[in-house]
């Protein structure tokens, strides 16, 4: 028999994070967005709740939960604020994930406990100015020099890349040619403070304004051989695998954001009166809300099932790409209708829905655009 019940831990976690998000994030979200402020105080509070390292085993300082638990956590944060959800999703999927899955024991012992405590964030630098969807187009190179490597190049749009507590960047670079003549990619774990490695915070974002986004620069940056993440030549594989799992957390942001936007629209439509009636009584609005509720429900179970596949060690990559595509596009439709239902007020900063409307757009672009998800899915279905 199919059982759609979540377990007790999932339910407790959802309640706890919903409570936290409503009381600690909601009151400051608009202000942080307005000021483009990355809040270390909020990160510290989230660390106290163990929101970093959810899926990492306890021996490394994590909470040892399954992926579904993590996805519910991101969903609940995104229901209230996209930027905050982004900090947590990137911290886990892009900072912690690669170290845990591909790092050697030494790298794990050094970094995982710090990352799980939330005292340190890691970032994941794949995208470059000329290598976005085409991540293989990386121009960053690493040249071997004795026991060291000398890295030159730059990265752009790197989440958590330049916060005060960022400890390292995992960076993909070309390290030579493989036997088959193709480029060899290797990931390096480069600690902040390494000479030749600098970062610059990017400002002026339309969305995720209180999430930290950075450019990374490597100028004759010398790192020891031991800073290779896992094995030389595994870089591309590591990046693809990280993105496969990362898609689940972006999908969770779409799902949670859609849920939050829908709730805002429903509440507003039950209060706003025009022509002597609550506007939710007009069929044009009621049908929009009915569509939203339906699509959110479909999105939720598509995503949860993808997590279930992952947690049961079954192939989940196709479903993860479908979830990322669908959840972010559901949120796109939901925020569009939700602003429409708010009328002119929906266009004002003062109303939360305005922030949801802006934050949504990233989800169709980051960690593989919607078009790229369709490329991935179409390959899986045999096109």
């Amino acid at each position: 028999m199919v059982d759609f019940n979540l377990n007790d831990e999932h339910n407790m976690l959802r309640d706890a994070i919903r409570d936290f998000a409503e009381n600690e994030i909601a009151p400051i979200a608009e202000q942080l967005d307005e000021k483009e402020e990355f809040s270390l105080e909020l990160v510290a509070k989230m660390s106290d709740m163990n929101l970093f390292g959810l899926t990492i085993p306890e021996e490394y300082g994590g909470s040892g939960m399954d992926y579904l638990a993590y996805i519910i956590a991101v969903e609940e944060l995104a229901r209230v604020d996209g930027s905050t959800a982004a900090t947590v999703a990137a911290g886990n999927s892009l900072g912690l994930g690669p170290v845990y899955y591909f790092g050697n024991e030494e790298q794990k012992k050094e970094w995982l406990p710090k990352l799980c405590s939330g005292k340190v964030l890691g970032s994941f630098g794949l995208t470059e100015a000329n290598a976005g969807s085409d991540a293989g187009g990386t121009l960053t190179v690493a040249v071997q020099d004795g026991d060291d490597w000398i890295i030159n190049g730059s990265k752009i749009f790197i989440t958590n890349g330049s916060s005060e507590i960022t400890g390292f960047a995992i960076t993909q670079a070309i390290t030579g040619k493989r036997d088959d003549g193709k480029k060899e990619y290797t990931c390096f774990l480069i600690p902040h403070g390494t000479p030749g490695f600098t970062t610059k915070t990017m400002h002026g974002k339309m969305m995720w304004r209180s999430s930290n986004t950075a450019e990374l620069y490597f100028e004759d940056c010398r790192v020891p051989n031991s800073s290779i993440l896992g094995k030389r030549g595994d870089g591309f594989k590591q990046m693809l695998s990280t993105l496969d799992k990362g898609r689940l957390s972006i999908a969770a942001m779409g799902l949670g954001g859609a849920q939050g936007a829908y709730e805002l629209a429903l509440k507003y439509s039950q209060e706003r009166v025009q022509f002597g009636k609550k506007i939710c009584k007009f069929q044009a609005n009621a049908f929009k809300l009915a569509d939203m509720a339906t699509e959110i429900e479909a999105a939720r179970w598509l995503l949860y099932r993808a997590c279930w596949l992952h947690d049961n060690d079954l192939p989940f990559q196709k479903e993860a790409a479908m979830s990322k595509l669908y959840c972010s596009e559901v949120m796109s439709r939901v925020v569009n209708h939700a602003v429409q239902i708010h009328g002119g007020y929906g266009l004002m900063r003062e109303y939360n829905i305005e922030r949801f409307y802006r934050d949504q757009k990233l989800l169709e672009i980051g960690e593989g655009t919607s078009e790229v998800q369709k490329i991935v899915i179409s390959r899986y279905i045999g096109c």
């Binding site: 007790d8 831990e9 407790m12 309640d15 409570d19 106290d48 709740m49 163990n50 939960m65 956590a73």
Partner: protein, 260 residues
């Protein structure tokens, strides 16, 4: 010290409560830890974290369903959970509830007892004090400041025009008021730990009581019926010249609202 926190399962304050045939309809209602009880748990956890050999226990009396709420309370960081599970719980008045809790407390042992100043569902504000009286313990209710030094408790409570300061030895019962502390959120590690911690479910028999002691049989007070508050009718604006509107206002107060 064995610090026991009494925890009641109550409907979420945001839940939409409906009444059917004089009874509260519980389907679709979410149940939570009584918010005032969380101040007690927080205070207990603070004592434990300050050092020394302390254990924090959660004790709940409710139906089987209340196990979830006991576990949610444990997720704040308690060491052990106890539930006295009996179907009669909703029919128990404050006296009977206290009787059950006191019997369970005797069974598990205690050095200090915390509970909320009231439950947000029936608002009777009696259970903590009744438990203390039944166990012949000192008590202070509606406490907003708490200190424990060398086996002595010093608490403060707001009274008309000032703060009352009370000192007493442990064991004693404290009922907690908002402002006592800032209850924490459950951490994910503590959520994961709940099922690995001891959780005991008692029957009435286990704590030396029988069906005659509880529910309608054991209670002095019987709830005969619940009624939802009258729904507020929408307001009416009386328009027109002051002379006419004043007349109309007086007429409607007299004839419709029947308040003058």
């Amino acid at each position: 010290m064995k610090i026991v926190c009494l925890v009641k399962e109550v409907p979420d304050s945001e839940a939409k409560i409906t009444v059917e045939n004089g009874k509260i309809k519980e389907t679709g209602v979410k149940f939570i830890v009584n918010p005032y009880d969380e101040y007690g748990i927080e205070e207990a956890l603070k004592i434990k974290e300050a050092g020394g050999e302390h254990q924090v226990f959660i004790l709940t009396f409710g139906t089987e369903r209340a196990k979830k709420v006991m576990e949610s309370a444990m997720a704040l960081g308690a060491d052990e959970g106890f539930l006295v599970a009996d179907g009669s719980a909703p029919d128990c008045d404050s006296h009977t509830t206290a009787k059950v809790l006191a019997a369970a407390l005797n069974k598990i042992g205690f050095d200090m007892i915390f509970c909320g100043k009231q439950a947000i569902d029936d608002d009777s504000s009696q259970v903590g004090v009744r438990v203390a009286e039944m166990l012949s313990l000192g008590h202070a209710s509606v406490v907003n400041k708490f200190e424990l030094t060398d086996g002595k408790v010093k608490v403060e409570r707001q009274i008309q025009g000032g703060q009352e300061v009370i000192e007493m030895p442990v064991p004693c019962v404290i009922t907690c008021q908002k402002g006592l502390n800032d209850p924490r959120y459950p951490s994910l590690k503590n959520i994961m730990a709940v099922k690995k911690k001891p959780r005991t479910v008692f029957t009435l028999d286990d704590i030396g009581l029988s069906a005659d002691d509880v529910g309608v049989n054991g209670s002095f007070v019987e709830v005969t019926k619940f009624e939802p508050p009258l729904e507020k009718a929408p307001g009416r604006v009386i328009e027109g010249e002051p002379e006419d509107t004043a007349k109309e206002l007086i007429r409607s107060l007299r004839e419709e609202a029947k308040v003058i």
